[in-house]
């Protein structure tokens, strides 16, 4: 095992990683921007190094600062957390060159899955069902007399693909991800309009104008499979999470298991493991699928990092995924196999963000004046906030993850409901009233929410306590 891990992140995920290190007896180094000097990870870690000013590009995203901090503190490994440098293949590469272990997949894993077209091709080769798209067009391929490049470069090409795979279609940036760089077109006119815009945005945001077209699966659920793979070809899938409650492609509620039946659950798990194995994946990772009303599933993308919602899988399997990331990176073998994996009960996570749900989820940074977390059976909280903490305006709005586990979905929901009612955060607007409302919603309670759920969700959040 490593002697000292540098945590190249902030907020609750940094706290989560420090906890895993402490439980393994590994020393920790927190790096922080000037805006996070007094943050919880900075205080919990054994050492803390200021790496730059508040703007992420000069601190948490600034590779030389992070690497130098590891060097001056003699850290022998870096955990990138989620976000910032977690899915940056250059960073993983540089860590390797500097002989610092990167706690995550290989640079090649990240590279392959970071390019959406390459990722789709890899998934396709592993036999994972894909949505009809410009990288796998049903008939256009034969007509074109050439290997499809996947990317679509002209309006004419785009129109041709869209007519083949059928509207509505998504125009997606090849290097996009996390819900950014994508537009839906419902007919020729909107396709022509959005095609240029999306390319321009992709160029600006991701440094490449490459886009591809994909059939939009309407009323789809977002279901993803957690994978854990070591250096020795051992790979397990740890059940699937339903993350369909999203707002503008940002997940708000995640749960495990999903409402897939046992046969589909096993099938999708095996398919995901096979895909990860095909690219010789190692570490924790997640393969995301869109699942239509008939429970057909289509590859969406792979996240080559620990995810915010890994917590629900931990609650249901009893496994500590962050510790396993570390063990795998340190060269240890998985000491269990697929038959040992048991999903116990049901777990739900609500993301408590500093956003005002009664006001279009507007960001609400500021000082937390009062903080009384819920507790008792089946409740887990991952947070970096406390009474007196001031949320800096430079970073994401996640304040806390509230996870409820129960013997079945009903008990998990009942626990989540009572925990949300106990939870007191004052000084900032939060998504707590939103979650309270969802926990009473008939569609959610019936486990029928799809990714369009929030577009029609209209609970009177302002009138809630």
């Amino acid at each position: 095992m490593f002697k000292k891990v540098l945590v190249a992140n902030r907020g609750e995920i940094a706290v989560r990683i420090i906890r895993a290190c402490k439980e393994l007896g590994v020393k920790t180094v927190a790096v922080f921007s000037e805006a996070d000097r007094d943050s919880m990870p900075t205080q919990l870690a054994d050492e803390a190094v200021c790496i730059g000013p508040p703007h992420p590009s000069k601190s948490y995203l600034h590779i030389p600062a992070v690497i130098s901090a590891a060097e001056v503190t003699n850290a022998d490994a870096i955990h990138p957390g989620a976000g910032f440098l977690a899915e940056n293949p250059q960073f993983a590469e540089i860590c390797g060159e500097c002989r610092i272990a990167f706690i995550g997949p290989t640079p090649q894993n990240i590279e392959t899955m970071g390019n959406k077209i390459a990722a789709r091709r890899a998934a396709q080769e592993a036999g994972v069902p894909l949505t009809p798209s410009s990288s796998k067009p049903p008939r256009w391929r034969r007509r074109a007399q050439q290997e499809p490049r996947g990317t679509v470069e002209t309006e004419e090409e785009a129109l041709s693909v869209a007519r083949e795979i059928g509207y509505p279609v998504m125009i997606k940036a090849a290097l996009g991800g996390g819900g950014r760089g994508m537009r839906a077109a419902h007919n020729d006119v909107s396709l022509v309009n959005l095609f240029k815009t999306t390319r321009a945005e992709a160029e600006a945001a991701f440094g490449s104008a490459e886009v591809y077209l994909e059939k939009l699966i309407e009323n789809a659920r977002h279901i993803e499979v957690q994978i854990l793979a070591d250096h020795y070809g051992n790979i397990v899938h740890l059940g699937e999470r339903d993350c369909s409650v999203q707002r503008k492609h940002q997940k708000l509620i995640e749960e495990t298991p999903s409402s897939l039946d046992a046969k589909r659950r096993s099938e999708i798990g095996n398919v995901a493991a096979k895909a990860a194995k095909a690219i010789q994946y190692r570490s924790a990772g997640t393969i995301e699928f869109l699942v239509d009303a008939e429970m057909n599933y289509y590859f969406l993308e792979m996240n080559t990092r620990i995810q915010v919602e890994h917590t629900v899988t931990e609650m249901a399997t009893g496994l500590d995924l962050v510790k396993w990331q570390m063990r795998i990176a340190a060269g240890e073998r998985l000491d269990f196999d697929q038959r040992d994996v048991e999903i116990q009960g049901h777990a739900i996570e609500c993301r408590i963000n500093a956003e005002d749900p009664a006001n279009g989820f507007a960001p609400s940074p500021g000082a937390i004046s009062k903080y009384v977390p819920p507790g008792g059976p089946g409740i887990r909280i991952d947070t970096h906030i406390y009474a007196g903490y001031s949320t800096p305006p430079f970073y994401d709005s996640l304040l806390a993850k509230l996870i409820a586990h129960g013997s079945d979905r009903n008990e998990a929901i009942a626990r989540m409901r009572r925990a949300l009612n106990e939870f007191v955060i004052e000084g900032a607007h939060t998504t707590i009233p939103f979650h309270r409302a969802v926990m009473e919603d008939a569609t959610f309670l019936a486990a029928k929410a799809h990714t369009g759920f929030l577009e029609t969700f209209n609970a009177p959040m302002t009138s809630l306590p």
Binding site: L44, V49, C50, P53, S68, V72
Partner: protein, 160 residues
């Protein structure tokens, strides 16, 4: 230091900010300007914001005793003396090589552009130069010690 103060902070500008804060009773003001690569943080009120202390962590890997308040606003202290701070994380070296004398010692006068020290980061030796004429009053960091961003390196007296 040349690396950071391309657009040095002007005292009367700071005066305006403080006036603005007083007028609107602000307790904190932060300005971050990507273009000029500078940031300003001003806080008013009786004391630092009080934070919880979940544990007693080891201090940052540094032997400096002072906590930087804002890296670029080096002359905020208002007194005679200024601090020159590290603009990057790395290892601080006082001389170009182990068998050579230090670039500067306490008591030395340096000219704008003169090298003060080296900070090694990712195997690169970064020469750190003075942005103004100054007298070195105190060297705050031991040779070969690690320094974090914003850590005071030298206490200096600005010379015209």
């Amino acid at each position: 230091m040349r690396r950071s103060t391309r657009n040095p902070i002007n005292m009367s500008e700071l005066e305006r900010y403080v006036e603005f804060m007083e007028k609107h009773d602000l307790s904190e003001l932060r300005i971050e300007e990507g273009r000029d690569n500078r940031s300003i943080v001003l806080r008013r009120g009786p004391a630092e914001v009080s934070y919880a202390a979940p544990a007693a962590p080891a201090p940052a890997p540094s032997n400096a005793t002072e906590t930087p308040e804002s890296v670029a606003a080096e002359n905020l202290n208002g007194g005679d003396l200024d601090l020159i701070r590290a603009q990057m994380v790395g290892t601080f070296y006082r001389s170009p090589s182990p068998d050579e004398p230090p670039f500067v010692e306490a008591g030395d006068n340096v000219k704008e552009g003169e090298t003060l020290c080296i900070i090694e980061a990712m195997k690169l030796m970064n020469l750190i130069e003075s942005d103004f004429n100054a007298e070195i009053v105190e060297v705050l960091v031991e040779n070969a010690a690690p320094v974090e961003y914003g850590q005071p390196l030298f206490r200096v007296k600005r010379l015209s």
